[in-house]
Symmetry: C2
Subunit: 438 residues, 2 copies
């Protein structure tokens, strides 16, 4: 019983982590020691492999005990991760009404608000008094995650207003809800994009957000802890896509070697093969290049600077799109801004490069013949100016257009933009070189 | 009065946005229309330029009205953004105790937990009853942002336990706090890194987090809405650093052209100049290259694949470090995992490339002479295998070591890793080419 006491003093998240590191076959034994309610909380925090392992070791009545303690949204999350046979066993332990609700929630696509909401919330009528509202909260608090905001609906479940526990505490016990409810409600639709929905939490400092159907009937709420998970997932996903990785759901150490390989190889293959274009451009200039072989040494610098300039812009724009700071209507403001930034960056880089070529490459490294010095220096520096300008324009416009066309802007980020810019940089470089030198 | 009614129906965030788009000189007039409490909420949501403009138009008594309604953490945030003269004017309107508190909060470095906490929270004693706790909440609710968690402290302000309003609602009114308080408290220190602190909100699904000094005395709390802001800021910062941009605080459209230029040019300059190394490597092989000019066409593909492989790893590791999924002790697990992923990726890429070279470059583009076909194909493909392995190892280890040494891992991301890998890729390529072909 010592273990039981020690564990009961810990936080569910920490217990779950402790159990994950313990021997897998001891898991059911240790788990059975936990008090019922705590056991369910720990269960929610475990990863899906462990949950499955536990469920498989449970008797039907043990399984029912855990399930009865779960909040609706957690239950749906768990069922989503389980193989069909385990999911079926879980559903068998729930009553018909819960089962129907779960199936409805499971039907929402992963990317929409409906998929992260819970159907348990405090529902009150506008004719209730503050005291009656408190009683309603007390009655439902055990089964409800979000109890600090009450939702006022009419008979048709239409959302009329919200009242927070703060307002209830500050009102007289016989005050009518309709006199204190806030009718200016921030809500979202079940099928709204979940990324845009969680941005509302940041914008309006919300604890919960009501989710309504197309007829403004309340169907569920999203709680701030789930909104935070989605924010962090979406940020991680954007970061992964920007780095040419297919997004994964598990954390780094929990993803297997083969899964990691599978998330990384597609873009590497695509980008490797698309680099055939840059290769072909170089090959087609090969004969002329052999006379000016000194120019080749600057290809990596020009392509690198073009790529970096472009990804600075694309990444900034993608993040701003994700956070809802800009959208398609801002495209001209973005272009005008990026153009000015690009011209200043291009001129500064070109000028510094010109001086660097003279001081480092000519005087120290002695890479230039004196005869062509000025022309080669001009060709390289001029290319730099144009490459930076084109890079910043392509990098900023592409993600906005991608989003408008319904593609994922993050996929348009660094690697794809870089590949396009690599080819453009070379074409600009060789054209300027031919113009000036040949 | 029509405008007053219309505005009062809106959310403070939306009113602030509406005002930002209105004419700046009308701002004080419209602002004065708002009811006092709403005016303060709108004020908090405005950007600092507008706040400053408004403060400068306020009389001292108007300023005091707004300031009296502000929560402590919002006031500190506003003062931080103001020029010294305006900050002084604000401080003059507060009483000595508040002023002392503000100065203490202002002294915390921006990167630590103390800088985002508020000093207003519900403080109760363990000898109180549930009813007395509710009275305390009612008395303080107007001036306190975080009222759903009460903090139990002893006479020396040492934190003993927490009680949520949920638990209070579910307890009898004469129950003693000490019988229901949770003594297993998740807390953080004032000087803890704010990024690590906000991760606790995600880990433990918190609404508020108590912040204690080195002697475990409660000094403030962080609320979930501020934690969310920090999470999004930290993610944006990481994304910016990964894309070789110095992080900016304002949103994209609110940042001026020159500020944007200043945040982008340092890394572009640094990376441009450091590309001198790759240029020098190419130059030093120039004489031998002129005989094998066909090899040059593959440089962009090899450098690109190396860069992409490396940034896939570095970006994944940097994000995992930020979220607290891995730390320094995991370095060997990371290396072992990345090595296996890299070997599979390298072999697949090398093999696909070998076939592609034959089908596309030899049969279609006719870039190869038959005599050296096999050797050149082998050289390119073999380089690919080694480049991918080295890229993934460097890309994953560098951020972990950077963090251990106290540098920012995000700065070690794509661009810097890419520059190092560009040079390594070339050296590997030329070494293998010389070995096989010369």
């Amino acid at each position: 019983m010592r273990l039981r006491e020690t564990l009961s003093d810990l936080n569910p998240t920490d217990i779950a982590e402790f159990l994950e590191e313990a021997d897998k076959k001891d898991l059911p034994v240790v788990f059975r020691i936990l008090p019922k309610e705590l056991a369910a909380e720990v269960f929610v925090q475990m990863d899906s492999d462990m949950q499955q392992h536990l469920i498989e070791s449970f008797s039907d009545s043990e399984l029912k005990d855990v399930i009865d303690e779960l909040f609706m949204d957690d239950m749906v999350n768990i069922i989503e991760e389980m193989p069909a046979s385990v999911a079926k066993r879980i559903l068998k332990q729930t009553n018909a009404k819960t089962r129907q609700m779960i199936n409805k929630l499971l039907a929402y696509p992963d990317t929409c608000a409906g998929s992260i909401m819970t159907t348990e919330y405090i529902n009150i009528k506008k004719s209730m008094t503050v005291d009656e509202a408190f009683n309603r909260i007390r009655k439902n608090a055990v089964d409800t995650e979000a109890i600090y905001t009450c939702y006022v609906t009419d008979r048709g479940r239409k959302l009329l207003g919200v009242v927070t526990v703060r307002e209830l505490l500050l009102s007289y016990s016989d005050t009518l809800i309709e006199d204190i409810m806030d009718t200016n409600i921030i809500s979202a639709g079940t099928l709204d994009d979940r990324e845009e929905v969680v941005n509302l939490f940041e914008r309006y400092d919300l604890y919960t957000l009501p989710i309504v159907d197309t007829e403004n009937r309340l169907v569920g709420v999203i709680t701030v802890d789930d909104a935070i998970d989605v924010m962090q997932e979406e940020a991680s996903e954007d970061i992964e896509k920007m780095a040419a990785i297919l997004p994964s759901e598990k954390s780094y150490l929990k993803t297997g070697v083969f899964s990691t390989f599978k998330s990384r190889i597609p873009w590497l293959l695509f980008l490797m093969i698309s680099a055939t274009f840059t290769g072909a451009i170089i090959s087609s200039f090969e004969d002329r290049l052999s006379k000016w072989i000194g120019l080749i040494a600057f290809i990596p610098m020009l392509m690198g600077t073009g790529g970096n300039s472009g990804s600075q812009s694309s990444v900034t724009i993608i993040r701003a799109l994700s956070l809802g700071d800009i959208d398609f209507k801002d495209i001209w403001r973005v272009i005008w801004k990026e153009l000015r930034v690009a011209v200043i960056c291009g001129i500064v880089l070109g000028a510094v490069n010109f001086v660097k070529l003279y001081l480092v490459d000519y005087l120290i490294l002695k890479s230039f013949d004196e005869g062509v010095l000025l022309l080669e220096m001009t060709a390289v520096s001029l290319t730099l100016v144009f490459v930076v300008i084109i890079a910043k324009l392509v990098g900023s416009v592409l993600p906005i257009i991608a989003k408008k066309l319904g593609f994922d802007p993050a996929v348009m980020a660094s690697p794809l933009v870089t590949t396009i810019l690599d080819a453009l940089s070379l074409l600009i470089y060789f054209s300027i070189a031919i113009l000036l030198l040949m």
